[in-house]
């Protein structure tokens, strides 16, 4: 059977010392080096793009956390703001923001005079325009809240208009101002002086986190408050709806489902749902939850329902994978000592799969947090400047979400919104990082239990 002689091939390899590399060997080693280099280049490209992306986002977005403000003393003249003089709120509310606007610009002018800063061809009106249109409303609310302020001199700390803010951040320059109908180079020069005088300065911008969105005219006042709250509501709902259902479905499919056509269909279905384009879920939400079930548009509940359906397959797949990763020997062991199938699952399989389930869940939620397209279709892109109320009613109130806010700012004309959009991205990414780190920590913690 083992006729050696009939093996011509065995003489083919010349017997050589292992101490010298053959020419063939050198060629093969060169190919090896090349191949490895391709891999490193690919990794380098991937990491470089990531770095560039994060860099541009940071570069363009960090400035959103600072905002230019004008600080000057201002007398709240009672005659103008409370013409009847009886401090009746209803009467006082008849004075519109335009009135306050005037008071503000007057006070600024006065301060300029006092400090001896020349106007240099900038008209009074144009000086007034340096103050954000938001400031008047803010001031009005403050006065109405506390009529006792009338007649006193307070220090006004008001937002500067977006272009001035942009100028301080370098986004607006004298050259761009030439072409800009909203601001003139002269105004910028004046702003420069104001800055030198200490009237104008850039400071940490809490409002960015708390304000609602603002109209195109006043990007400086736009904030993430509603989006944050909306995202938070949605995540809460998704968590409550998705996780129990996802885990239950996974348990059934992995542990109990008989292998037949029906469960096969469910299985293919789930894998497929995980890959259905998100926009299709948007259509689903629009057609079913809004048009058919009549739930209110733009509400976080509808958003959460759509996102839940999208996330469910992800969670099911992650959960099933980690359930499957529990070695069958554990199940045999439990069944072997007389545990029922259900006991086996709940006593052994599920606890062992928990780290995987948690990680999958958190990662699923994280991607849900960043989902945009379907939300556009159910109207969450609408301009919402009221905070939704507290749950549970708040779930039905119109809201928006972080990524949608990013999109809607990015699609506005004013470059100041691009900055805010990037700022919002940073906030979003911080959330994602926190969730991911949370996933890792939770996982570690669970694993240490054994």
């Amino acid at each position: 059977m083992t006729d050696l002689s009939a093996a011509p091939g065995f003489t083919a390899r010349p017997k050589s010392s292992i101490l010298t590399a053959s020419a063939e060997m050198k060629r093969r080693n060169a190919a090896e080096a090349r191949f490895k280099a391709y891999g490193m280049i690919a990794v380098a490209i991937a990491l470089a793009t990531l770095a560039i992306m994060l860099f541009t986002i940071l570069r363009d977005g960090v400035s959103a956390f600072h905002q230019a403000r004008l600080t000057f003393p201002m007398e709240l003249s009672a005659e103008v703001l409370d013409p009847k003089g009886n401090r009746n709120r209803e009467e006082m509310s008849k004075v519109t923001t335009v009135g306050y606007q005037k008071v503000l610009s007057k006070a600024l002018l006065a301060e300029l005079d006092r400090q001896g800063i020349a106007q240099e061809g900038v008209s009074d009106k144009e000086i007034g325009e340096l103050i954000s249109k938001d400031a008047a409303g803010e001031l009005r609310a403050r006065v109405l809240a506390d009529p006792a302020l009338l007649g006193t001199t307070i220090t006004a700390n008001v937002l500067a208009t977006g272009r001035i803010d942009g100028f301080l951040k370098g986004r607006v320059t004298l050259e761009t101002a030439e072409r800009d109908s909203n601001i003139s180079p002269d105004q910028l020069r004046l702003a420069e002086k104001l800055r030198d005088a200490g009237l104008l300065r850039s400071s940490w911008n809490w409002d960015f986190f708390t304000n609602a969105d603002a109209s195109d005219q006043r990007p400086e006042a736009a904030g993430l408050g509603v989006a944050l709250l909306g995202s938070a509501y949605m995540m809460l709902l998704v968590l409550v709806m998705c996780v129990p259902v996802g885990v239950a479905a996974s348990i059934y499919l992995e542990e109990f489902a008989p292998k037949n056509r029906w469960t096969d269909a469910i299985e293919v279905n789930i894998s497929n749902l995980a890959a259905v384009p998100s926009i299709v879920f948007g259509i689903l939400g629009l057609a079913i939850f809004i048009n058919f079930a009549g739930l209110p548009q733009s509400s976080s509940l509808v958003g959460a329902l759509v996102i839940s359906l999208m996330t469910l397959p992800t969670i099911i797949i992650a959960t099933r994978a980690s359930i499957r990763a529990v070695p069958p020997s554990i199940r045999d062991a439990a069944l072997g000592v007389g545990a029922s199938k259900m006991q086996t699952v709940f006593h052994h399989v599920l606890p062992l799969a928990m780290p995987g389930i948690l990680t999958g869940t958190i990662l699923g939620l994280a991607s849900a947090l960043g989902e945009t397209a379907p939300l556009l279709l159910i109207g969450m892109v609408a301009f919402v400047d009221n905070y939704p109320s507290a749950p549970p009613e708040g779930f039905l109130d119109p809201a928006t979400a972080l990524p949608v806010q990013v999109y809607s700012w990015a699609s506005r004309a004013d470059p100041a919104f691009i900055e805010r959009s990037n700022g919002a991205i940073i906030v979003l990414l911080v959330f994602l990082v926190i969730m991911n780190v949370g996933a890792i920590l939770l996982r570690r913690r669970f694993e240490r239990r054994w």
């Binding site: 292998k259 072997g336 199938k341």
Partner: protein
């Protein structure tokens, strides 16, 4: 010669614990077990040997209805545990498995403490009323499994941290803890090295004082070493069943002879 006590074989009272009668198993179209009838003696070790795929594991798993978990398996025939048919519809397989314990090929301790591993069975079957009773069961089981000495100071350590042989003995202790009458073992030593194997074999030999033990093994030597009765399976048939000493010195069936002498090609 018959009046003398044979050294290897001291089965005094040869009462049958399990009687299988005409057991057939199909996996879908595959007729895996064909009309197997055998009596498993009480307080003796019975070994199942045979070539791969001959149905040893299948038959073993019939004995505590672990085959119920395989959707495609159909079992017919009768298996009586002390005279009661375990395939009777009234029998709850979960309860049956508490009486007919099982130990698997690869040691599979739960990733819990040693104590919890052993205590699991008694807990789910509600065998104890308080912690003291549970402690007693755990200790007794570990002692029986010849593991108490090695682990008594670290009952809280994870069971998975033990060596392979210790893990397998832990699994045996776990099976013992529910107070079974029969212990089924499917190739319990095939994942162990020779020393751990010898320790487990030694344990099996001791266990037969209190249990009826059935062991599936690929190693004929192992069957020869630990068992008093040997059953040889071939292509789904039970070819020969008899005293281990006889099977290994003087088998009746030429197929048995061919297999144990290494001639089936």
């Amino acid at each position: 010669m018959n009046d003398m006590t044979r050294t290897g074989l001291e089965t005094e009272t040869a009462t049958a614990k399990i009687s299988a009668r005409g057991v057939q198993v199909h996996y879908g179209q595959n007729h895996a077990l064909k009309n197997v009838s055998v009596e498993i003696l009480d307080r003796a070790v019975t070994a199942f040997i045979g070539p791969s795929g001959c149905g040893k594991s299948t038959f073993l798993r019939c004995l505590n209805r672990m085959n119920d978990t395989v959707a495609s398996a159909r079992v017919s025939g009768q298996i009586l545990l002390e005279g009661e048919d375990i395939y009777d519809p009234r029998v709850d397989p979960v309860q049956l498995r508490a009486r007919v314990g099982m130990v698997f090929q690869k040691p599979n301790p739960f990733p819990k403490s040693i104590y919890d591993n052993v205590a699991y069975g008694p807990k789910i079957h509600g065998l104890t009323r308080n912690k003291a009773e549970l402690d007693a069961i755990v200790e007794a089981s570990l002692r029986k499994a010849a593991l108490w000495g090695e682990v008594k100071d670290r009952l809280d350590a994870p069971g998975t941290g033990l060596s392979g042989g210790q893990q397998q003995r832990l699994c045996i202790a776990r099976a013992i803890a529910t107070g079974p009458e029969v212990l089924l073992m499917d190739e319990p030593c095939s994942a162990l090295d020779p020393i751990a194997t010898a320790q487990v074999e030694e344990l099996i030999d001791e266990l037969r004082a209190s249990f009826s033990v059935v062991i599936v093994t690929h190693s004929m030597q192992q069957a020869a070493r630990v068992s008093q009765k040997t059953a040889f399976f071939h292509l789904g048939h039970l070819v020969e069943y008899g005293d281990t000493g006889d099977i290994f010195t003087n088998p009746k069936d030429p197929r048995t002879e061919a297999y144990i002498t290494g001639r089936i090609g």
